[in-house]
C-alpha cells in the first residue's frame, strides 16, 4: 500500500481566514464565538455562533462568481486556494486525470435554501433564482474546487454530518493508497448560520445558550458546566499526495495520514455509542501500524454536549486502556465552534499543526472537572510537548464514526 503525505493546508473559520489566524487562536485558546451577526437572532435560544468574522465575499469573488456560489462553496474555494498554494501544486494534463476532490458537507448551501424558503413562504414569491439548485446542492463545493483547479480524477461529496470531512480526508487517503489517484484535495465546508437552520438545531435542545457576560465562553467541552454545542461555519482543506509523488517533487511534507477507519453504531439516530467508535480508533491505529503507546495527542470530537463528552471519554478509555490517562486530549470546538461538515477537517489541520509546532492546543473555557470526564483535556493553557503521532475523532449524528491517525514527519 502506498503512503499518503499532506502537503498543503487551508482554513476558513471563526478564527479568521487562513491557517495563520486559525493556529494562532487555536493554540492560545482564543474563542471566535460571538453574538450572531449573519441575521437578527433576537428571540433565539442560541444567540451565539462561530461565524467567520467580517467576511466580505467581494474581496474573494467577482459578482458573477458570487451569484453561483453559496457561502459554503465560497469558503471551500478560499481554503482550497490556500492549501494548493502552500502545496505548490502544479499538474500536467495527464496528472489532472489522477487528481481528485472529496469535500464533506453536512448541510450544503443552507443559507441559499433558507433564503429561498423565506421568499416562497413568507414573501409569497412563486419564482426563485435559477442558480438556487446549483448553489444549494451538496456537491457544489466539490464541483467548484474541481473546476477551479482543473482536477478530473475521482470527485465526491460526502454527507456524513458532523464527521463528513473526516470521511472525506480518510476516503481520499484510501484512494491514494489504492492507486486510484495520486493527488486529492480533501476536507469539508459548511455555512449553516441561517435562521431556519438554527431553529432546527434549537429544536434538538443541544445548543448552548449565550452565557451571561462573555458570549465567547458558550462552548465548554468536557467541563462540568458545559451547556451544549455552538454552531459554527467555515472550511478546512488539505492537499494529499502519494508519498512518492511528494518526495519526488521535493514538496515539504507536513504530516502523514497513516490510518483511517469508518464504523457505524447501527443503533440510535442521535445518541452516541461506545463500541463502534472504539473499533474505529483500534482499526485506524492498526492501519497506521501504531499502538496506543505510540499516540501522544487526541483531537476529540468534543462538542460540548453533555452526552458526547461523557461518552467520548468512555470511548477513549476503552480504546487506549492504561494509556488513556497519559494522553493529551483537546477539543478545539470551544474556539471554532461546531462547523458541521468542516469541523473534522479543521480539527485534523489543528492536529497536524500541533505535531509540527510541538504544542498541544488547549481545551478553552474549561472551568470545572466533571467526574464523567476525568482524562487530561489540556484545560485552558496550551502545552508544549513532543507529539509523535495523534488521532482525530469525529462521531456524527446517525452513529457514523471516522477516526484519522496522523504521524509526525
Amino acid at each position: 500500500m502506498r503512503r499518503v503525505a499532506v502537503t498543503g493546508l487551508g482554513a476558513v473559520s471563526a478564527l479568521g481566514i487562513g491557517i495563520a489566524p486559525f493556529w494562532e487562536r487555536v493554540s492560545t485558546g482564543v474563542s471566535g464565538v460571538r453574538r450572531i451577526a449573519n441575521f437578527d437572532a433576537t428571540g433565539f435560544v442560541a444567540q451565539v455562533a462561530a461565524e467567520v468574522p467580517g467576511y466580505d465575499p467581494a474581496q474573494h469573488f467577482t459578482d458573477a462568481e458570487q451569484s453561483l456560489l453559496d457561502r459554503f462553496a465560497q469558503f471551500a474555494l478560499i481554503a482550497a486556494g490556500e492549501a494548493c498554494a502552500q502545496a505548490g501544486l502544479t499538474l500536467t494534463e495527464a496528472e489532472r486525470d489522477r487528481a481528485g476532490v472529496t469535500i464533506g458537507s453536512a448541510m450544503g448551501g443552507s443559507v441559499t435554501q433558507d433564503q429561498g424558503y423565506k421568499r416562497i413562504y413568507a414573501d409569497g414569491a412563486v419564482r426563485l433564482h435559477p442558480f438556487t439548485i446549483p448553489r444549494i446542492m451538496n456537491n457544489a463545493a466539490t464541483s467548484h474546487v474541481s473546476m477551479r483547479h482543473g482536477l478530473r480524477g475521482p470527485a465526491l461529496s460526502i454527507g456524513t454530518a458532523c464527521a463528513a470531512s473526516a470521511h472525506a480526508i480518510g476516503e481520499a487517503a484510501e484512494m491514494i493508497r489504492a492507486g486510484r489517484a495520486d493527488v486529492m484535495i480533501a476536507g469539508g465546508a459548511d455555512a449553516p448560520i441561517a435562521p431556519g437552520v438554527v431553529r432546527c438545531w434549537e429544536a434538538m435542545r443541544v445548543l448552548a445558550p449565550a452565557p451571561a457576560g462573555d458570549p465567547s465562553r458558550a462552548c465548554r467541552p468536557f467541563s462540568r458546566d458545559r451547556l451544549g454545542l455552538v454552531l459554527g461555519e467555515g472550511a478546512g482543506i488539505l492537499v494529499l499526495e502519494s508519498w512518492e509523488r511528494a518526495t519526488a517533487r521535493g514538496a515539504a511534507i507536513l504530516a502523514e495520514i497513516a490510518g483511517y477507519a469508518a464504523t457505524a453504531d447501527a443503533a440510535h439516530i442521535t445518541q452516541p455509542g461506545v463500541h463502534a467508535p472504539v473499533a474505529a480508533i483500534a482499526r485506524a491505529l492498526a492501519q497506521a501500524g501504531l499502538t496506543p503507546a505510540d499516540i501522544d495527542y487526541v483531537s476529540a470530537h468534543g462538542t460540548g454536549t453533555r452526552l458526547n463528552d461523557g461518552t467520548e471519554t468512555t470511548v477513549i478509555k476503552q480504546a487506549f486502556g492504561a494509556e488513556a490517562r497519559r494522553l493529551a486530549i483537546s477539543a478545539t470546538k470551544a474556539v471554532h465552534g461546531h462547523a458541521m461538515g468542516a469541523s473534522a477537517a479543521l480539527e485534523c489541520i489543528a492536529t497536524i499543526l500541533a505535531m509540527r509546532h510541538g504544542v498541544a492546543p488547549p481545551t478553552a473555557n474549561y472551568t470545572e472537572p466533571d467526574p464523567e470526564c476525568d482524562l487530561d483535556y489540556v484545560p485552558n493553557t496550551a502545552r508544549p510537548m513532543s507529539i509523535r503521532a495523534a488521532i482525530s475523532n469525529s462521531f456524527a449524528f446517525g452513529g457514523l464514526n471516522a477516526v484519522l491517525a496522523l504521524k509526525k514527519v
Partner: protein
Amino acid sequence: MAQDVEQQVIDLIARKKKLDPARISPASTFEELGLDSLDAADLIFTIEDTFKIVVPDETAQTMKSVGQVAAAIRTLMAASPGAA
C-alpha cells in the same frame, strides 16, 4: 414602456455579460451573445422581476434572441394587468 422593451432587454444582457449595448441588436441571438442555458435562465428570472410577469416554461424555451424575448414580454404584459 412597451416601445423600449427591446432596449431594456439589451441593457440587461449587456450588464449581465459585460457587453457593449451598442453591439447588441434585436436580431442578436443568445448564441452570438455567449449566453448559455444557465445565463438564459438567469436573464428570464430578471425579466420576470423587472416586468412583473411570469414567463411559462414553454415560452422560455422559445426565447433564443433579443427580438424573441421582447416579443414574448409584450405578449405576456398585454395578458397580465399587473405587469409593469
